[in-house]
């Protein structure tokens, strides 16, 4: 079975959880910017968490499958609809063959993940199907998707077949389960909570004013916000003593301060090491949340201890595992 891209889109790529083990060759992990949403969408279709799915940014393409399919949408709500009727988020949805799934303006969030039961069966490069467009690596021909592309879909797993059997019987052609799943709602009151960070490599080299400025000010996401990083605008930050940096490690969620003073938050396709001083490390669960911010949205920051950061990571993982077991139990139980 194949998935056909019918419409244009802003920035749609094939992503999974990224390729690990190659950073020593300068190849970054890449992968979904909001991995929790990708994992949720995959689990909702009975896929393994690391199956390849679509990451769709701001303007999503309409798609059609040339066979019956079970899909799930998680992350940003982009007003999905099938054959004219609205389709819900965060739950398994059965699309009869030929049903066109289309999207509108995003109501909330910036990146939506569409998983299909069986996963997108594009070739794996260096252990991952994740697209790293800058090096034309992985995904579909190493690039963003355009109208007319058609991608192979893998063999549907057992759980996917079970879902299809249940949903096919419903009177509505495009059918979905009465249950949905997710560890956090992408809504204003949750999305714009402060972004928590731990001390960066050069935190103590920054001036006292800069360190308090980061905590007190709102920073706006500029249009230069893509899979490599989010450039922010707001109160400038400076080292106490200006010095040329030796290139050091840089990782997902690092808050870098180039000489101009405006912060950059490193995202999935960041360079594996860079030469700018680092004031903070946004915790990974909040870096995933940051991926749902659009240009023009504002960020506030809150410093926390390493111990708190670790606890939050582990709590979030526990919630994901509870959700996964919950989804599997509902699928096993006949989906109702």
């Amino acid at each position: 079975m194949n998935m056909h891209i019918l419409g244009n889109s802003l920035m749609t790529t094939v992503q999974d959880l990224g390729r690990t083990g190659y950073q020593k060759y300068g190849v970054n992990v890449s992968g979904a910017m909001d991995p929790y949403s990708l994992r949720t969408a995959n689990r909702l279709t009975g896929n393994p968490e690391n199956a390849a799915a679509l990451e769709m940014t701001l303007m999503a393409p309409s798609v059609v499958f040339d066979g019956p399919s079970v899909i799930a949408l998680a992350g940003a709500d982009m007003n999905p609809s099938a054959g004219g009727i609205p389709v819900p988020m965060n739950r398994p949805v059965y699309l009869p063959e030929g049903t066109v799934l289309s999207f509108g303006r995003p109501r909330r969030g910036c990146r939506c993940y569409m998983a299909v039961s069986g996963g997108l069966d594009v070739p794996s490069v260096m252990g991952s199907r994740s697209t790293y467009a800058r090096a034309s690596l992985g995904g579909f021909q190493g690039r963003t998707l355009i109208k007319g592309d058609s991608l192979p879909v893998g063999k549907m797993p057992e759980k996917g077949k079970k879902l299809q059997n249940i949903l096919e019987k419903q009177k509505r052609k495009t059918a979905w389960t009465p249950w949905s799943a997710g560890i956090y709602p992408i809504c204003e009151s949750f999305l714009f909570r402060p972004f928590r960070y731990t001390e960066g490599l050069q935190y103590s080299d920054f001036s006292e004013e800069s360190r308090t400025a980061l905590e007190r000010n709102r920073y706006r996401v500029t249009v230069h916000a893509d899979r490599m990083g989010y450039r922010l605008e707001g109160e400038k930050l400076h080292l106490a003593v200006q010095k040329e940096m030796i290139s050091e490690m840089a990782s997902l969620g690092t808050i870098q301060i180039p000489s101009e003073g405006y912060p950059i938050v490193l995202m999935a396709e960041h360079q594996t090491c860079a030469g700018y001083p680092e004031i903070g490390q946004i915790i990974l669960p909040d870096t995933a949340r940051a991926a749902q911010l659009k240009p023009g949205d504002t960020m506030t920051f809150e410093k926390i201890s390493l111990e708190e950061a670790e606890n939050i990571y582990i709590q979030t993982e526990k919630q994901m595992r509870a959700m996964t077991a919950g989804i599997d139990a509902h699928i096993e139980q006949g989906g109702l």
């Binding site: 526990k318 595992r321 509870a322 077991a325 919950g326 139990a329 096993e332």
Partner: protein, 458 residues
């Protein structure tokens, strides 16, 4: 050490009542999760708190993990006791409890999964030098492989599901042409009941007793044996009568089997109450069958034989407490248990749900009746059909048998057929009285036993 104050009990019937008793004695709040079919049952009245978690169908209540965990979290339980059956040996459930900060009163999910895969457990036992019943090292994947393996072992053979248990997913094959059907049926039954149909093949052991060793281990890996239970009086792998000690037992055999059981428990990194099942032949040679990573239905036999409370000990070891004994315990006197089920021997022991119009259990010293029934209680069609367990403890086997016959005689139940008449017959068999009942005896002599029963011989 982790303090337990509130336990959610994810089970029903007599084991639920049993755990509620243990909670009372430990000063712990008992919270019973029940299905709407069990709303008016005794345990719901006994528990400190109770919560309805689903409709009668077990797969939407007692077996539906989100509802059990949802109830435990909602009512702020800090531990979950799974009892036996339902989720007791579900590795996923134990793992989710561990991850969601709920103390699972039982072994770790790793031990459950290891021992839950019967084929993997056998391989582990062979590795650590515990004798196993001759059989295929792992699962069989093709007809040729099964035929060849069965041919080497010699018929009859027993086809067993790796994920099987409680007599489910098992078929015997007397001859090569019966093998294919046996493999198919066992695999299908296991796939439906446990979600996985992998099967392996074991030699069908003749003239052997089913002897299981009760072990208890604490979080520091300290393991002791609490003696054996002989459960040979069974029909289609369903136990009817259990006793401790076993008529076959000698001091050295008990020591050797105890050592093997403790070795198995340590290899599985075991914590809590567990049972290692063996078959023992006439020459006193024993072979590992499987390990049950739960409190067993017949645990009261050991409790009265060695004088302890296994359920309370389970709760304490789950809080990290060390074992209260440092030496193995040995059964004293003689203990016998009969499981009274609502089954109609005249209709191939079909479970017979119904209402207990009359329910008057026997009373007396050295006599214990574990049950959750009272007059008017309903034996529901949705779950097992157990009414009660009668346990007697006397100085000698002779006295114990007579005392059990007397107790069964006084047990007055009306409204549903029971297994009491059958058990009375078995107790009166010369073979039973002389301790010669092996695992096949009841099955092969069933026609005569039922005939005598009809003529009201007992």
């Amino acid at each position: 050490m982790k303090q337990i104050r509130r336990i959610l009990i994810a089970n029903r019937g007599e084991i639920a009542a049993r755990i509620i008793h243990a909670c009372r004695e430990e000063g712990i709040t008992s919270i019973l999760a029940y299905s709407s079919a069990d709303k008016n049952t005794l345990p719901v009245e006994m528990a400190d708190e109770s919560v309805c978690i689903g409709p009668p169908r077990a797969d939407r209540s007692y077996l539906f993990i989100p509802s059990v965990i949802g109830a435990a979290k909602g009512l702020k339980a800090d531990a979950v006791h799974p009892g036996y059956g339902f989720l007791a040996e579900n590795g996923d459930f134990a793992e989710i409890c561990e991850e969601q900060g709920l103390i699972f009163i039982g072994p770790s999910s790793k031990s459950i999964r290891l021992m839950g895969d019967k084929a993997a457990a056998r391989a582990l036992m062979t590795k650590i030098g515990v004798p196993v019943i001759p059989g295929t090292p792992g699962l069989v994947h093709s007809a040729e492989e099964s035929l060849e393996a069965a041919g080497d072992m010699g018929y009859p053979v027993l086809v067993k599901a790796a994920a099987g248990g409680g007599g489910k997913g098992m078929r015997t094959a007397e001859t090569p042409d019966e093998l294919a059907a046996a493999v198919h049926e066992a695999s299908e039954e296991a796939r439906k009941a446990f979600g996985s149909g992998g099967v392996y093949i074991e030699k069908f052991m003749k003239n052997v007793h089913h002897v299981e060793i009760q072990i208890m281990a604490d979080a520091r890996g300290h393991v002791i044996s609490l003696g054996e239970r002989d459960c040979s009086a069974q029909r289609k792998h369903q136990k009817l009568i259990e006793e401790s000690p076993s008529p076959l037992m000698t001091g050295t055999l008990r020591e050797n089997m105890g050592k093997a059981a403790k070795k198995a428990a340590r290899a599985a990194g075991y914590c809590g109450a567990g049972t290692v099942e063996f078959v023992v032949d006439r020459q006193g040679q024993f072979y590992f069958m499987e390990m049950n990573t739960r409190i067993q239905v017949e645990h009261p036999v050991t409790e009265m034989a060695v004088g302890t409370d296994l359920v309370r000990t389970m709760i304490r070891t789950a809080q990290g407490e060390p074992l209260p004994w440092d030496k193995d315990l040995v059964p004293r006197g003689w203990t016998i248990e009969c499981r009274i089920n609502a089954e109609d021997p005249a209709r191939q022991f079909a479970p017979s749900p119904g209402v207990l119009k009359v329910y008057e259990p026997p009373r007396g010293r050295d006599l214990r009746v574990d049950s959750a029934m009272k007059e008017g209680s309903v034996i529901s069609p949705f779950y097992d059909s157990m009414i009660a367990k009668v346990i007697v403890h006397k100085n000698s086997r002779e006295e114990a048998i007579n005392s059990m016959e007397q107790a069964l005689g006084q047990f007055h139940i009306e409204g549903v057929p029971t297994t009491i008449p059958l058990q009375k017959q078995i107790l009166s068999l010369p073979a039973f009285r002389e301790g010669r009942v092996d695992t096949a005896y009841i099955e092969t002599h069933l026609k005569d036993i039922l005939q005598n029963m009809k003529e009201g011989k007992s």
